[in-house]
């Protein structure tokens, strides 16, 4: 999936304006979106997902305008993992992950228990995110990290080539965070296109193939990890003294607080 964002801008009633900006992410690429609070990371993800329409500009999925795609077609093309979801009632985890298959099933099949092949697919997604043992729990009673893994399993069940992740490891412990990022990494290797908004700069530097640095709705830097992760640049954007050195095991940038 080639995601292309072209001259897109969006103004909120509060006065905040994102863009105009342009970004392109191709097959097997993993774009990290970083920037201070209120930079417009989530708004950009929402425009990429079609959750809200841009005021100007266009979003293209494989050369097709996103605005022209139906909700069903969109859900076949991209899956979104939100920061968190609050459910009003006790829906079991298995029923939540099954919802990833919703738009793939013919109408009549949606009303019945899943066919064996579909059942296996859902189980595999639960296994992949280490959430299989949660399947009969109520989603509401899970911890934040467990919910995050279930939401990723639901997104995987959509079998969409584009994954949009909003702070996906914010509530995961280091073990599960690493597992999550390795899983996403293997999806990228397999040809998925991934966009991830994230606060942890070092994590983005290890995981992503390209980075977009946003502040106040405008692009501050956009390119390869080494290009964007310059100590001066980061310190200016985040208004705090930051340093960059090579990570001892990966050699990629490691960001730290200076003094």
């Amino acid at each position: 999936m080639n995601l292309r964002v072209e001259g897109v801008s969006r103004r909120h009633p509060s006065g905040f304006q994102l863009g105009p900006l342009s970004v392109a992410v191709g097959r097997g690429e993993w774009l990290g979106i970083v920037g201070p609070n209120g930079a417009g990371k989530t708004t950009l993800l929402r425009l990429m997902a079609g959750t809200e329409p841009p005021d100007a500009g266009h979003v293209w999925y494989d050369g097709q305008p996103l605005a022209a795609l139906s909700p069903g077609a969109r859900s076949h093309s991209r899956a979104v993992v939100p920061q968190r979801l609050v459910l009003p009632f006790d829906l079991p985890v298995s029923a939540v992950v099954e919802l990833g298959r919703l738009s793939h099933l013919p109408w009549a099949d949606r009303l019945l228990p899943l066919a064996p092949a579909e059942r296996q697919l859902v189980e595999a997604c639960l296994e992949q995110t280490d959430a299989a043992e949660l399947r009969s729990r109520s989603f509401r009673t899970l911890s934040g990290g467990e919910q995050q893994r279930v939401l990723l399993a639901m997104a995987l069940a959509q079998r969409a080539p584009l994954l949009l992740l909003d702070e996906p490891t914010a509530s995961l412990d280091p073990g599960h965070a690493r597992q999550f990022l390795e899983l996403v990494g293997s999806l990228v290797q397999a040809g998925h296109t991934v966009v991830m908004a994230h606060h942890d700069l070092t994590t983005v530097a290890q995981a992503c193939s390209a980075v977009l640095l946003l502040a106040d709705g405008q692009v501050q830097a956009y390119g390869g990890v080494d290009e964007v992760f310059q100590a001066e640049q980061l310190s200016g954007v985040y208004r705090t003294p930051l340093g960059v050195m090579p990570h001892p095991s990966t050699g990629r940038p490691l960001v730290f607080h200076r003094g």
Partner: protein, 325 residues
């Protein structure tokens, strides 16, 4: 599991229909009732069963089913455990419609209530709608505000026309005394197709529990689903109000009780709540007929008196188990 739950609800419904048919001032044994059910005739027993008791039992079933089904849809649409069939203005609209017809026309109160309920929901929806979509909290608040305005108008009209007070008050308490086939048939033509159309929407209702945005990400056409749920639920509510007046409790609590005892998966919850709602209301109506008071106790009061304590007990029990609503 699902099959057993449905079978149990079906059995309960069938049993409550029989109880409703057996019960009445003229003693008729079960065997006589079954025989006239199979072979209708012009004998007295057959006339009592088919023309007096059956319309009433079917009306009760429709009211209970309609309100419970509508409650399930509203709670999913608004993602709010406090939502009931009346929350977006249906009861206030029905009340004003009833008062207007009672004072202006003098009769046709149920028809006025029906039109009033649908008109109020339509007004709420059009106020809360922006760019095709509806923010659920706006819908609740708009319904609340509109409800207060309509209730004020209703009270004012009643103060000017106090001769209508008794008619309107009795109607609001909720009753299906002296039901005949004609209104039952009309309500059935609205409630049954609406319930049938609601069922294919149940998978999307599950998605809606995750929120409007997440449902959209999963491929649900959210604005269309919102309109369908609101429309179908309101038709069911208005038809139930047309038959029985403003019956409270059933539409709020039957969905909760069934969800608590079975599942929140709407594919099961909707049919189960519809059947248990019907069974519960038939039994409540039967009991209301046998309370030894001059005239009949309005069934709407009885549902509250019967169901309220059970619901409170269920709340306390599930709280103790550490589950919160």
């Amino acid at each position: 599991m699902a099959g057993r739950r449905l079978a149990l609800a079906g059995l309960a419904l069938a049993a409550s229909v029989l109880v409703g048919l057996v019960h009445g001032p003229t003693p008729l044994p079960l065997s006589a009732i079954v025989s006239v059910l199979v072979h209708p005739s012009s004998r007295l027993a057959s006339v009592i069963v088919w023309q007096i008791r059956m319309p009433r039992v079917v009306a009760s079933a429709l009211v209970g089913a309609g309100l419970a089904g509508s409650g399930v849809a509203m709670q999913a649409l608004l993602r709010n455990p406090l939502a009931d069939p009346y929350i977006v203005g249906a009861s206030a609209g029905a009340g004003l419609g009833a008062v207007l017809t009672a004072t202006v026309v003098g009769s046709l109160v149920p028809a006025g209530a029906f039109v009033g309920a649908l008109a109020a929901v339509g007004a709420t929806y059009s106020v809360a709608r922006t760019r095709g979509q509806v923010a659920t909290l706006t819908l609740i608040l708009a319904g609340y505000a509109l409800g207060i305005m309509l209730a004020a108008v209703q009270t004012f009209i009643l103060l000017l026309n106090q001769h209508s007070l008794e008619t309107v008050f009795a109607w609001e308490a909720g009753s299906i005394h002296g039901m005949t086939w004609a209104p039952v048939g009309l309500a059935a033509l609205l409630i049954l197709p609406a319930a049938a159309l609601l069922f294919p929407l149940t998978p999307a209702m599950n998605a809606l529990l995750l929120g409007d945005e997440a449902a959209g990400h999963l491929g649900v056409h959210v604005s269309r689903l919102q309109l369908l749920l609101l429309g179908l639920a309101s038709v069911m509510t208005a038809a139930a109000v047309y038959l029985a007046g403003l019956v409270g409790f059933v539409g709020l609590v039957i969905p909760h009780v069934v969800r608590r005892l079975t599942t929140a998966d709407h594919r099961q919850l909707l049919p189960l709540a519809v059947m248990w709602g019907a069974a519960f209301f038939i039994l409540a109506d039967t009991v209301s007929e046998s309370v030894p008071v001059v005239g009949a106790v309005p069934v709407g009061l009885l549902t509250a008196v019967l169901g309220g304590p059970y619901f409170l007990w269920l709340l306390v029990r599930t709280q103790r188990e550490g589950v919160v609503f």
